[in-house]
C-alpha cells in the first residue's frame, strides 16, 4: 500500500458582483504571491459563465498547503489581507471558505 502524507486544502467558493474592475489583475497577483509562500503546494481554479446554467457565475478555487500553519500565514499575509478586504467591498457578493485535511486521492490519465 502506498503511503500518503496528509496535506490541507482551502476550498473557496464564491459569486461575483457586477463590478469586476481590477479583479483579474488582483487574482493573478494573489496566485503569484501564494506560490511564493512557505508550505504552498498548488492551486486549481474554475468559474462558470455568468450567463448560463443553474450555477451561473459560481467560482471555485482550491489551494493546497503542507500544514494548517501555512494556511494561517497565507490568510494573514498583508497583501492578501488587502485583497480580501477589496474582495468583500467590491468583487464578491458571497463567499465560503472551507479548511480541509486531504485524506487520500487518486488520479486517472488517458493513455
Amino acid at each position: 500500500m502506498k503511503s500518503f502524507k496528509p496535506y490541507f486544502a482551502v476550498i473557496f467558493t464564491s459569486t461575483h458582483t457586477e463590478d469586476t474592475k481590477g479583479y483579474a489583475e488582483m487574482a493573478n497577483k494573489m496566485e503569484t504571491l501564494a506560490k511564493q509562500q512557505k508550505g504552498y503546494i498548488g492551486i486549481d481554479s474554475a468559474r462558470n459563465d455568468s450567463s448560463t446554467g443553474l450555477s451561473a457565475g459560481v467560482g471555485i478555487t482550491v489551494s493546497y498547503w503542507e500544514s494548517m500553519e501555512a494556511i494561517k500565514n497565507w490568510k494573514a499575509n498583508t497583501e492578501h489581507l488587502f485583497a480580501q478586504q477589496k474582495g468583500r467591498e467590491q468583487w464578491y457578493n458571497w463567499y465560503n471558505v472551507k479548511i480541509c485535511q486531504v485524506e487520500r486521492e487518486y488520479e486517472f490519465e488517458k493513455l
Copy 2:
C-alpha cells in the same frame, strides 16, 4: 465558540476530451442521483471556458457528505459506476479525486 461537526468533501478536478456528446445529460443525471443518496449534503461545480486563460478547460466539482461511508456508497453506486466508466472512455482526459475532511469553515455575504 460555535461547535462544528466535521463532514467530508470530494474534490473532483478534471480536463475534458473534445468529445462532449452526452456529457451534460449524464452530469445532470448524476447530480440528481447524488442528491438522493443517504449522507449527501451538497455539491458545487465550475468549469472554465475551454478557450481562455492558463487553466482553460479545467473543471472542479466538490461534493459534500456526512461520512466516509456515504462517499464509499456513492462511489460504488451502480449507475454512478457506469457513468465513471463512460467518463474514462469518452469525456475525460484526466481527473483527480481528493477525499477530504472539512475541519472548519466561514462565510461572507454582502449586506
